[in-house]
């Protein structure tokens, strides 16, 4: 397994003013693996994702994607790495002045020389994967929360990325839609053979997706292992955390 990692995070720390959000985090993600990052709100889960994609720079530490240290790359080199990464934002972050079709075409127009016919085909096929081909000419404001997440997901995977980063993909959704989105994530991951890092505090989503989980607490990794081991942990904090989650379900 030593040579099959895709993402390696080495001793990463990040603080905002005096508040240390990430404190000496180290984790390795294997190719094709789905890693779920758990933790309470404000424990640095999204910050970790933003450090991986280069939206934030860690204060200390290194992040490797394949052989590239993203903390040392210039903008041009970083953009080359980003072309192989998909990112689903918590709010889906659809471009609200563009239709669904234009949202999906946008990255392809910028990075490929596809003809309009090829673009149409690619957009339609990708929307079909998320069962939203009928919404192709709608504006984001006409879509429900779950539909927006699906379109966001379609836009993230349209460039066939090797690595997908999900920032709370099921937050704000009802349990049925949560399960649908989680099933969709796992089926896409299998179809497209992607590696995924999923930030969540949703146990339904995590149980469907996770090959492995880490739990962040006070900026450190408090647990690393299988999701079942995490939910059965004897740590009083984790017992409390997951009992709350179960009540919510």
């Amino acid at each position: 397994m030593a040579d099959t990692w895709l993402v390696k995070i080495n001793n990463v720390s990040k603080a905002f003013d005096d508040f240390k959000v990430l404190d000496d985090i180290s984790v390795t993600i294997q190719k094709g693996e789905n890693l779920v990052v758990f933790g309470q709100s404000g424990t640095g889960k999204s910050v970790l994702l933003k450090c991986i994609i280069g939206l934030l720079s860690p204060d200390i530490g290194e992040i490797f994607i394949k052989d590239k240290n993203v903390t040392k790359l210039n903008t041009k080199e970083l953009n080359e790495v980003r072309k192989n990464i998909g990112f689903l934002f918590q709010s889906a972050a659809l471009y609200d002045s563009m239709t669904v079709r234009e949202n999906l075409e946008f990255p392809l127009r910028k990075h490929t020389t596809m003809t309009q016919k090829e673009l149409d085909e690619k957009v339609f096929n990708t929307l079909e994967l998320v069962s939203l081909e009928n919404a192709i000419d709608k504006m984001p404001s006409e879509l429900s929360g779950g539909m927006r997440k699906r379109v966001g997901l379609a836009r993230s995977i349209i460039t066939d990325p090797e690595l997908m980063l999900y920032d709370e993909p099921t937050t704000g959704l009802d349990p049925i839609t949560t399960k649908e989105i989680s099933d969709l994530i796992i089926s896409l991951q299998r179809k497209l053979n992607m590696t995924s890092i999923v930030v969540t505090h949703d146990l339904i989503c995590a149980k469907i997706i996770a090959d492995r989980a880490i739990f962040l607490r006070n900026g450190k990794i408090a647990f690393e292992g299988q999701i079942d081991d995490l939910t059965k942990s004897t740590d009083p904090f984790l017992i409390n955390f997951f009992s709350d989650e179960i009540i919510k379900q």
């Binding site: 939206l55 953009n79 972050a93 609200d96 946008f106």
Partner: protein, 269 residues
Amino acid sequence: MRIPRQKYFHRPNLTQTFVAFFTTISGITVFNYEFFKQVFLPPYEFAQIKKHMDELGVKTLPIVSITGFIIGLVLAMQSYPVLQRFGATDFLPNTVALSVVRELGPVITALIFAGRVSSGIGAELGSMRVTEQIDAMEVSAINPFKYLVVTRVIATTMILPILTIYVIILAMFGGFLAVIITENMSFEYYKNAVVGAVQFGDFIPGVAKTFVFGYIVGIVGAFKGYTADGGTAGVGRASTTSVVLASLLILIFDMILVKVTLVLWPTLG
């Protein structure tokens, strides 16, 4: 590129006010530097520039049309009694023409443009910032500064001089309307007087400074929107402060550019 961002304080003390002021100055300096660094580099996004010019021009056209016409009309109505006192009512077309071409046309068009466009850009980019659309562009390996900021600033810089010329022409018609109400003057006489009064040296500096005003409107709106934070309240602040800062800078730069014009063309004094 890391742009220094001003922190928002509900009731800032003196130190926080100073810090916020200098953070804005350093932020806008970095923002300007980034603009000039990127404006000459590909991709040039001509389609986006054209789209913004169309939108900004069309959106602003009704309000500047009315304003231009009224400026000329009111200026002629106000100047008439004064000129009459000196028996110089024949100079009414000259007075209207020179005032509008040199100062009123460019500055008032720029201030209206700032109110309409700078706030719009601030709100639009601010909304994109707080809903993570700008981050989404960045993670898709698309340069959001180039796509969102550079295109808008070029559009505002190019469109304001065109709007100003349009306003000047409408103001002349407004002035003529006032003149035929008060004086028995033919359109031919009015037109010849206006054309005779306005020299190349009056027209060019007046319109040339609107390139600077257009740049100010675009860059201030884009800066405030691009660096917005704090949710919807932050978007509101970006929109409001864009207009205030852009209007203030237009007036300050007008003062500087008038002085520069008088140094370069002393005969205008």
